[in-house]
Symmetry: C2
Subunit: 209 residues, 2 copies
């Protein structure tokens, strides 16, 4: 006689993902970024952590869920960095500078997350896709409203806060496409220079003149 036995709350393997799960996510992220989601097989991910493809299903529930978790984690980290940057100062001009610096730092340091997040939205099935789109909208709104506040205060001058906010976001995201450690600029230098460029776009004075 078979008894239906749902997973118990105390089941450690379901509630407390161990290091192995983290290693799988890191490997999947790297492979999704370098080969693309569809071109990456479960066997590839398994091999990257020293096991066979089917064994992955003891740790994660599937390839699609792996992608969704990676992308949600990426957006949450980006939004957290943005919130912290904006909350760290009161002056609107300085808030924009720090928000841009956080944005650029993220895209320089977490290039794989940026690649996957920007390229694989179409590979996400529902409801993961909507979860990501909501986060992206909220993130964009944060920049737009910051610029609108600066315009209201008279410290920024723009024709369209929307166009300028998109421009700032897009130029920062582009950093992920070419940045590498040991190049012409450090992450800090890059963040500062993009902060200056953003302030030029809103026609605010920059520190260096």
């Amino acid at each position: 006689m078979k008894v239906e036995r749902p997973h118990q709350p105390g089941d450690a393997s379901a509630e407390l993902p161990d290091d192995r799960v983290a290693a799988i996510r890191v490997a999947a992220l790297r492979l999704f970024a370098t080969q693309g989601y569809r071109a990456t097989t479960m066997a590839d991910i398994g091999a990257a952590v020293g096991i066979r493809g089917p064994s992955l299903y003891k740790h994660v529930s599937g390839k699609q869920v792996l992608l969704a978790e990676i992308m949600v984690g990426t957006m949450d980290a980006l939004i957290a960095a943005h919130t912290e940057a904006v909350d760290s100062v009161d002056d609107t001009r300085e808030q924009l500078r720090r928000a841009v610096e956080a944005h650029v730092r993220y895209h320089a340091r977490r290039r794989f997350e940026a690649f996957v997040g920007n390229r694989e939205i179409g590979s996400l099935e529902q409801p993961g896709r909507d979860r990501i789109l909501r986060r992206r909208s909220a993130y964009e709104r944060g920049f737009r409203e910051l610029i609108e506040r600066g315009v209201d205060e008279g410290v920024f001058t723009v024709r369209s806060a929307r166009l300028v906010s998109y421009s700032i976001l897009d130029m920062g995201m582009g950093v992920a496409n070419w940045f590498h450690d040991g190049g012409e600029f450090s992450v800090d230098q890059l963040a500062y220079q993009y902060g200056d460029l953003a302030l030029r776009l809103v026609a605010a004075a920059t520190a260096g003149g």
Copy 2:
């Protein structure tokens, strides 16, 4: 007895692709842009032009070649628009404005080409990939050298021509991600405003003050 008979130069089907080939390219472009290259099947492309997948091979030599042709055509059109824009005036400041306008116009009007060109580079096999990368480098160099010339002439002021050229290119490419006809701005309005933003980035006076 079998005789090796290479394709003759006079073979019309190889030299003069008809409307059907153009229709196949357009259908493939749309599907690659909306579903991704790997997620698009030859059967999908065939269905879009009213035939079966295997019948496509009477017109094109394969899926990979189709992608390469689309991407090379995209870059060549973009570079041609850039060259025409720059050659149309002498003043460096105006050359930058027109180059940015051409860049933005292209990314607003040819969104599918932009999506595929920016997302499917990794799907390209050699030698197609190198053909594309060479064109992209040349295009980027055009903007960078234009900015460097403006700096030499004293009409632009930038800390890094490279960073500013990347910024201008990236913000213009971003237009493809959200522009649609009937929205807040027309293509012409968009092109002009991005021209202004680019001139702000190089710290040159804009027409409107």
